[in-house]
């Protein structure tokens, strides 16, 4: 009977894959049809072969890779800083009332300010280039990190704490064995959100504050010359990198921690 269950699950999955492929093919065909219909100018809506050719050419001559490398460097630097600041601050805020009382009003006041609103200001202060971009990424990524860690630690079931305490766990054990695993779904969600925001912020910041490298800059620069093919090719690269991070990196982190600990129900995908 268990075997039977596995079989249907597998059948379900192959059907899902087939449907996904069909959907994507249909969407691509629709786009191609629109592009070839001549209803829009070909400069604005290039066909898929043109986009693919541009993408391959840009990867082959190395420009796309260099753009991507610059963007990755900025994003990882800012994201790393955000994690290094956000997780400890979030934990401190959840564990100590005094820290919470001081930082919560500040965090709530700063969080609604979009990172992009600060780009012009940071440009004036720190000039054009890496420093401004990294700081913007850091600003954008820190808040989801702090906020999720904070709510994660706070949402640890008090019953677990008491149970662990009753079984003789000391502070350190309680922290590593109960609070961190208990808060981990939130912390990982926070990292995901933080990366997404960092990724948004880096593109936005590069559009305005980067000198001459970076994926955001390419897209914005391509607009000036109506190079919609370069724009869409860079969009594909940006989407691809974002997707890879979301799925491969965070997905595997989640599998290795949260799902193994049985904190969330397995979701599809």
């Amino acid at each position: 009977m268990g075997n039977d269950h596995v079989m249907t699950e597998q059948g379900q999955r192959t059907r899902s894959i087939i449907r996904a492929v069909v959907t994507l093919a249909a969407a691509a065909a629709l786009y191609e049809l629109l592009a070839r219909s001549g209803y829009f100018a070909p400069a604005l809506l290039p066909t898929i072969p043109v986009i693919v050719r541009t993408l391959i050419a840009m990867i082959a001559n190395g420009t796309m890779i260099e753009h991507a490398a610059f963007t990755m460097y900025r994003v990882m630097f800012g994201f790393g800083l955000a994690i290094a600041v956000g997780i400890p601050l979030g934990i401190l805020m959840a564990r100590f009332h005094r820290v919470e009382n001081f930082f919560l009003p500040l965090v709530s006041a700063l969080m609604p300010i979009p990172s992009f609103a600060l780009v012009p200001l940071f440009m004036l202060w720190f000039g054009i280039g890496n420093l401004t971009t990294i700081l913007i990424v850091f600003y954008a990524a820190t808040f989801p990190m702090v906020f999720n860690t904070w709510s994660g630690v706070r949402s640890v079931n008090p019953l677990w704490l008491r149970a662990a305490g009753a079984m003789g766990a000391d502070e350190q054990k309680l922290f590593w064995k109960v609070i961190i695993p208990g808060a981990s779904p939130f912390i990982i969600t926070g990292m995901r959100q933080a990366f997404l925001r960092a990724w948004i912020a880096v593109v936005g910041a590069e559009m305005i504050a980067a000198s001459d490298w970076g994926l955001g800059w390419v897209i914005f620069d391509a607009k000036e010359f109506l190079n919609a093919d370069i724009m869409l090719a860079s969009l594909l690269v940006i989407g691809g990198i974002g997707y890879a991070f979301e799925r491969l990196v965070f997905g595997s982190i989640e599998r290795a921690t949260v799902q193994r600990w049985g904190m969330v129900r397995m979701a599809k995908g």
């Binding site: 959907t23 006041a109 992009f116 609103a117 004036l124 948004i200």
Partner: protein, 276 residues
């Protein structure tokens, strides 16, 4: 059912009526961090680490803020921005919740939508901006469409997760008690998914807000806070820029406090899904 759920959730603090003195202390406690940061800001401004033009004192920012508010320039910018935000967000909320709930309930809808959404969502919203500007031209239409398009994703994802996260046992027990599809949806699935949906709406609004400011900078709209900030940079009007940022923060804070917390209080907290 609601009572049973609320009583099982442990509450650390007994909520009693806040006395006037307690309230005063609360206000002071909230103001204190800002005083510290403000003092540091003043010290840096007066010490001249940055040129004065680039790092104005708080008094200068405040007077610019007052001047621009009295002349009606700041309110006009803010008004246009809010209208754009609301129309874009309304678009996103309708699309996001509908598709998300459908994806959560039907395997077929999930299979069809998930690949498209997974491809489109990881691309940062702002990256679409030049494309939208090319396709729909500079101005309001691009701005609203882009805001709607981009902020639909978090709403969609959260609605989807929320519907999937509804406990199987609730659904089954409701069914065994004879609930039909419509009742199941309105009494079990929707309340069960609501915390997620509200989180999604919240994230969506925040996303809309972030993108909007950026879009206003790029789309050359005649009025709007993003444009104000961006334009002020050209003339090194750091004080006007900071005044604009303050308004942006206030609007964002207002949305959070007066829109979402109210909704949450009326629905999720009352149903005992989370403690306030």
């Amino acid at each position: 059912m609601q009572d049973a759920v609320t009583t099982t959730i442990p509450v650390d603090e007994v909520p009693d009526r806040p006395q006037a003195r307690d309230r005063l202390r609360l206000v002071l406690r909230n103001i204190f961090p800002f005083l510290v940061v403000g003092a540091i800001w003043e010290i840096v401004a007066w010490a001249g680490v940055f040129p004065r033009r680039l790092f104005p004192t708080i008094e200068e920012v405040a007077s610019t803020f007052a001047r621009l508010t009295v002349t009606g320039i700041l309110p006009h910018h803010a008004f246009d921005t809010v209208i754009r935000l609301l129309s874009g967000f309304a678009l996103a909320a309708i699309i996001g919740v509908t598709i998300g709930v459908l994806m959560g309930r039907s395997r077929r809808a999930e299979d069809i939508c998930l690949p498209l959404v997974s491809i489109l969502a990881p691309i940062p919203g702002l990256a679409y901006a030049p494309l939208f500007l090319l396709w729909f031209g500079l101005g309001n239409i691009s701005a609203v469409l882009l805001v709607g398009f981009v902020s639909a994703f978090p709403i969609l994802f959260n609605s989807w997760t929320g519907v999937k996260a509804v406990k199987e046992i609730w659904v089954r027990s409701a069914q065994s008690m004879g609930a039909d599809d419509r009742r199941l949806f309105s009494h079990v699935i929707l309340p069960g998914a609501l915390p997620y949906i509200l989180t999604g709406l919240r994230l969506g609004l925040a996303q809309a807000w972030r993108i909007l400011v950026a879009v206003e900078m790029l789309a050359a709209v005649p009025w709007g806070l993003g444009w104000l900030i961006f334009g002020a940079r050209e003339f090194l009007n750091t004080d006007a820029m900071l005044a604009g940022i303050v308004v942006i923060a206030l609007i964002g804070l207002g949305l959070e406090k007066f829109v979402f917390q109210k909704i949450e209080d009326y629905t999720v907290v009352r149903w005992g899904m989370i403690t306030s």
